[in-house]
Subunit: 268 residues, 4 copies
Amino acid sequence: DVHTRPRVFSVWERYRHRQAHWFVECIAETMGVFFYVYAGVGSTAGFVIGNLSNESISSVLQIGFAYAFGILFALITCGSTSGGHFNPAVTICQVIFRGFPIKKACRYIVFQILGAFLAGLLVYVQWRVNIRATEAVLHTEGKWDAVMFTPQGLAGIFALYAPAGSNLGQVLLNEFVCDFLIGLVIWSCMDPTNFLVPPSAGPWIVSFSYAMCIWGYSPVGLSTNTARDLGTRLAVMAIWGTPAAGGSYAAIAALTNIPATILAACFH
Amino acid sequence: DVHTRPRVFSVWERYRHRQAHWFVECIAETMGVFFYVYAGVGSTAGFVIGNLSNESISSVLQIGFAYAFGILFALITCGSTSGGHFNPAVTICQVIFRGFPIKKACRYIVFQILGAFLAGLLVYVQWRVNIRATEAVLHTEGKWDAVMFTPQGLAGIFALYAPAGSNLGQVLLNEFVCDFLIGLVIWSCMDPTNFLVPPSAGPWIVSFSYAMCIWGYSPVGLSTNTARDLGTRLAVMAIWGTPAAGGSYAAIAALTNIPATILAACFH
Amino acid sequence: DVHTRPRVFSVWERYRHRQAHWFVECIAETMGVFFYVYAGVGSTAGFVIGNLSNESISSVLQIGFAYAFGILFALITCGSTSGGHFNPAVTICQVIFRGFPIKKACRYIVFQILGAFLAGLLVYVQWRVNIRATEAVLHTEGKWDAVMFTPQGLAGIFALYAPAGSNLGQVLLNEFVCDFLIGLVIWSCMDPTNFLVPPSAGPWIVSFSYAMCIWGYSPVGLSTNTARDLGTRLAVMAIWGTPAAGGSYAAIAALTNIPATILAACFH
Amino acid sequence: DVHTRPRVFSVWERYRHRQAHWFVECIAETMGVFFYVYAGVGSTAGFVIGNLSNESISSVLQIGFAYAFGILFALITCGSTSGGHFNPAVTICQVIFRGFPIKKACRYIVFQILGAFLAGLLVYVQWRVNIRATEAVLHTEGKWDAVMFTPQGLAGIFALYAPAGSNLGQVLLNEFVCDFLIGLVIWSCMDPTNFLVPPSAGPWIVSFSYAMCIWGYSPVGLSTNTARDLGTRLAVMAIWGTPAAGGSYAAIAALTNIPATILAACFH
């Protein structure tokens, strides 16, 4: 005869099942963030090292394209599993406007930052020979202290630093306007009534909104994404220690995009 | 019992309702123009400042891509609200060929110029540290007067100036041919019988027609859009005063695209 | 009572009607060739003049993109009117494989060459100030005779010249392989059973096949299209006289693409 | 009366028929690999020769675009005939996960390598004048031995060499991560349940996944494809002899992508 299992077992099983699903979703968020950070930071590495060693390896144009296609691949490969946030600001907007559960949102954000952190470390390891060689040149030229933790320095490959002479108001504004415009494009592409954007075109358009901002505004300092900025900043601190943290600019760069994206969602 | 409201109230209400709708449409036109001017002028800022300081930040190729995607985002985000003119010449063509109301057209044009003006000011503020630094270098090198209000100078980021040695006939022709070709592409993409251009591809193709003209003909002086040119020229005059106006070339650059677009519409 | 018109009238009318239709088709071919020659040669002008004056205006990458989008616009705006040949080799293939009338083909080819000729002249006029200034510099440096009619010289903007040291076999091979691959892409995109290429994607893919060949093989001398080459060569001879003709290399460049395209059609 | 043919005849006929079909499929694989190797290596030739002679002909950005469109054309023209592997790693995955016959897989791989070999030889012949001229300069400057068989040398156009100072672990990791990500994109695009990727968009997205890896990671040494690497390495050895083989790095570059692609298929 059939005798029922103690209730605790099925609770446990259901919990584990939910856990597994959560875990797959979180891995998808991690992979997605990993994808575009890996794509973009790789080209940035070429740009910074190329400039420091007078070689032409990369360009702002190339960095923009690399991020754009990285975001496209993130949306294509992982978007359908996790919903394709890949950005704490988008996750927070989903909590506010579409009732996304807060607990899940927190997990998403942690795993997004993890993805950026892992990508940052991997890019460092893959470019290590070139980074070390360039660092050695900076040391012998006595420029290491002045250049290292600036947008043109090697740590600037991974994390954003305040450009020389910039004030925080300007940095805040730069960040805010770009993130607002990106947010506007994202919400327009997610709008199912927008007949100019079929589902298959949305990821392309969202991706290139980042490229556009990188082309025009990365030279004056741009972060656009808390996960990307915080994750790679942790990676860079793991490599070069606390001087790589970047001060109050770091906090602004890491957080401005959140209210900007929320405002764009409201405006739309 | 129901007693009817005085007629004046409902007239007023209807008027206000129409006003609000007009206002939303005008904001959409402003946002659209803002989008592509912001995108394009940001990359132009990088190009001009990079050339003056011997850094490689941007390129004509990048400026073309930036404008193209800016126009794409304008059409995607604001096109369905306002009809997606974003260009006084297109608005005037709609008046002539499709019975668009003249009063509304005037509002559209004013708000288009406003969008370009706001974008110009914002780009200035976001790039101010770099612009000021480059201006200081020009002053110390004694080049400020000679370079500032030329296509290679800092004011050339925002407004178009006559290239050295060019005559107005050539500028007129350059402007006219490019605008005619862009107009031809626009009318082809808006033609619903054109099976090579599904609705979702139209914005992409129109956007890249601007990029093509920028790549080939911006080095000899190109405006393509009265709103863009007049709006950013006003912005640049608000920043550097009347010497930034640019003389008779300004008038030609600002207005040539209108007859060219009309002619393209006829030709099509 | 109705009395029938003399037969000669209706024959004449039908003839005129056919004429008008032919004329519209031929104008479409002219416009199409004009479009991509204008797009591509404009960027080439920036590249050649930029290299001669040590400015960074254009690049091989940009020339490739410019031609690609020029071809796209040609197909979009004029393709549905005339069938979108824009290339004598394609017209000849249509005669051989799809029974396109020979008389009509001859007209098409003449009007294709006319389009390239007009585009070449217009580009010259629009860039004239810069071309004249660069010519003056070449004269004062005594380099005019050595550089002018080479791929790096000002005439090289419009027509193709044999690169220094190249032999005709190599040029022939370069031309042939590129044109064969472009032809293969064209016939694949025109194949209605190819489910990877919907009608709206075909023009994009064909366009970028030219870009790919320009990126990889234009530095060693590439023409790809008899109309483009012959038309702009006539333009350049109208400007600088017979030394601009370019010798036996000219004949090869102008004609190799025809057998290559035919072979690609067979292969497919 | 009908008398039956000896059985040997029909066996032979069926064999020949199968042979012919196999042969067409194998030619399609050869052509496909030829397409993207020809596209990419041509732009690489411009980049390497341009750098050695201080001319700006190509860039890492351009090489990425060239490979991307080369892969797109391969998929468009030959994909429907042979299944569009063009990569031994994809063929091996098809054997493991989708029951692709092993014998056929071996033929595919041989013909893939043949395609890359032919493309390598053709690129050499088409660029020979420029390659010889650059080699002569390297000889007179006494740099030939030091530069020739490095990523910056002329043999580096065709085959991959270990960058100076790199260790094999780093090269292995670089190769593995890139190939894993490309594999992930390929399997996502082949997944028919992925509504973000219609069949016509798949080839574009797969193509640009290679571009992204080239932009970010080719400066530290990237092969991504056994056929491409082995085929062009054989071509380069046919040209410059055994010193062009490249040692243990060659083996790693040529084979790492296979387990990486398999792992990506598992992960997906």
